[in-house]
Symmetry: C3
Subunit: 314 residues, 3 copies
């Protein structure tokens, strides 16, 4: 693994999951391999779990971390080739990425989509510019369209909690008040499709995902029918891909305990942050079947496994 | 000590003070005990001394630190139970605290009061939520009503500078242009009351502290009479507790050298930041009797003593 | 070296350059000398290269770093002596600098000029206050009028790339849309003047530098004539010193490949961030003669050399 941009950078996701489960048993076993290595974490957008878990993961390996909130700590970056930079952006990504790469041994980058220009967002120009100009391995801390660190933790959590070899996994859309990226949903589908899984995606037709990511998943428009017999229910909101960035609002999709009654005593998942009683009702959030905190906790071990894998290739 | 929320978490404050005085002589003596331990510092409000001194304290013990400015680095947190989260707050403290706790070995939390709702502020719901959901020791970096790291440093500084066994300590209110919390004053009174001390509090009747914290201190409305014979004069502004959050403005309470003339050559204290020539006049700030910088410097050693005590119980 | 405020703190710049070139070959050779040392980085203004390179430099020496964005992490600081602090500034630099110094073994300070009051800017009151009240070595991370860490890296880069003993170095002004400090230009001239160099400065008469910094450099108003035979072309915008802070705008000064045609195959330099196609055209930025990234990379090794020199004197 040279970069960690998507599941496509992972030769065998299940081997990586098993390595992370193993690492979790003794997180300090490799505390010397990061000596004299520095991870740069570059944030174009806010972050809580990703920031803290990736930082802790690096520290557990003996690395040090330099975090930059780009728009607070420095200034706006231009990404357009050939731009006449006489507006608000003070530096081109070509220079900034090269410079950051020269001070760090690897770079993590978080950058949300605009949700106004689909072609631009799906071209992933910003994180690709870090790969092109940064000259060090790049880790996706959630890009315009994908969130592979989250999906890796999701897969690990399913592996830890599954009661049958090939559980029925249902990812259900749920309502939200803001226009959110498709990245978590795209990425979860992409990882599930990359392993031998039984994935159903249920959502209103207005918010269908790009087929590039939905892939071979079963698409079921009826939420109740989709949830029947589910072993894992992954709840997530995302805005429209087709009517790009549009908020679709249907409160009947909020996931509550009642909604889960015909599942196979399903474990409840969400990547967080979650708006309680909008996306998921309190009764489901606080039920013993919620493994949402386990997902969050596994962010640490999966990030650490990614960093470890990259260090071993440096 | 499992948490450090107030003096009530300390079995014997004077033993802790003596331990900190001892630690100050050789701050690197315990530089191995924090290995593989990470302190999370969670800021809902600005901080200079607390941020830097607590970070340095952790580093001196071999710990690492992850700092989060909640509203800049991530997003607003909801604290109300059962809230329908369809407004500005993207995550509930229940999830956030649990997640932060899972990435850190202990959490420090700074969160100022609203000063608009006394019942809410004095319930200390935010820091208590970290205790309830965080599952790791919690350190108060100044909460709505208390600032125990400051008071511990204040007590240590008095111990270092006292010339008689039981000095007369006077905490005097002073004017300010903004509505400030009662936390430093509450906490200082609480710590002084927890040890064998001679404490007088002087302030206009409009800004009397809660009797829960003032406790057995002598209350004297006449500033000049209060200051007579004082060995230590602790200056601090706070807003009204009774007419909650109201600014009381009386420039005649500003502390100057002239005000201190009938003290017993008193040492001058303040927690900082201080507005010169509003709270304390330049002549007093710059007098050789000021031990304000000593207080600030002791923030490092008292924070380190708190972290050390908690690590030893982990 | 007690402080690193300008080239005047350096006894022999060329010896320091050679030490940095040597350090670059093995950046981890001194990874133990910073043990138990903490560098405080205090930012009154944004920073990318300086922040990251100085942090990495400290880590390479085994130091730890505490960064503060003053106006985000804490509050505004008053610098005026005798001020009645009843306005927006909550703490005086006298207290803040002393406190920061008591928690750190050295302090780096970044603070841009106002560009509205020349006398005030050129008095360098803020960084001087850190020297006066901080009681630890102070490193200039770019002050109102100077940027010695940049100039040190510039000199190192010239030393690495020069093809003749005493190359012709031309610093040319170039246009910009904003009012920028004179600090990089002042400082570059000051360092070049401190060593045996052949420096020409070319700029419109409206933006001539202070003679205190231009010193013995050749001043040539005709950009084409100045560039003839140049071995190094250092491009930089700055606002007017005489009509203080005024933007001077003349697009004919933008540096492109065509502009460089009569140079001696000159290496192109800029401190970054650079606005492409305003200050320097893409064709020059992307030409093989650009050593701009080398300059940026050398910021790490020169910062490390400065920290190392200061540690060795502690």
């Amino acid at each position: 693994m040279n970069n960690f941009l998507s599941v496509e950078d992972v030769s065998d996701p299940m081997i990586l999951v098993k390595a992370a489960i193993n690492l979790k048993k003794d997180p300090y076993a490799d505390s010397a391999i990061g000596k004299n290595k520095v991870l740069g974490l570059i944030f174009f957008n806010p972050s809580l779990r990703t920031r803290m878990s990736t930082t802790r993961a690096a520290l557990n390996l003996g690395m040090q971390v330099i975090s930059m909130n780009v728009t607070q700590d420095s200034w706006q970056l231009e990404t357009a080739d050939g731009a006449i930079m006489d507006q608000g952006k003070a530096e081109h990504i070509k220079e900034a990425a090269a410079v950051m790469g020269s001070y760090c041994d690897m770079l993590g980058v978080r950058s949300f989509p605009t949700l106004t220009n689909r072609e631009e967002d799906y071209s992933e120009e910003l994180i690709n510019a870090f790969v092109q100009y940064g000259s060090v391995p790049v880790i996706n801390l959630e890009s315009a369209t994908l969130h592979p660190l989250q999906s890796f933790a999701d897969l690990m959590t399913i592996e830890e909690h599954k009661r049958v070899e090939k559980p029925k996994i249902v990812m259900t859309w749920a309502p939200h008040i803001k226009s959110l990226p498709q990245s978590v949903a795209n990425s979860f589908a992409q990882w599930m499709n990359a392993v031998d899984s039984d994935l159903t995606i249920t959502c209103p037709k207005e918010v269908e995902l790009s087929p590039d990511f939905a892939g071979k998943a079963v698409i079921e428009k009826d939420q109740d029918r989709a949830l029947e017999g589910a072993d894992f229910v992954y709840v997530k909101n995302w805005s429209s891909y087709n009517d790009y960035g549009r908020i679709y609002d249907d409160e009947s999709w909020t996931v509550s305990i009642d909604k889960l009654k015909n599942t196979n005593n399903a474990k409840l998942m969400h990547c967080l942050p979650v708006r309680r009683n909008v996306v998921i009702a309190d009764d489901a959030m606080d039920s013993p079947n919620s493994i949402i905190q386990n997902q969050a906790e596994n962010r640490l071990f999966t990030a650490q496994q990614v960093l470890k894998t990259i260090i071993n290739k440096l």
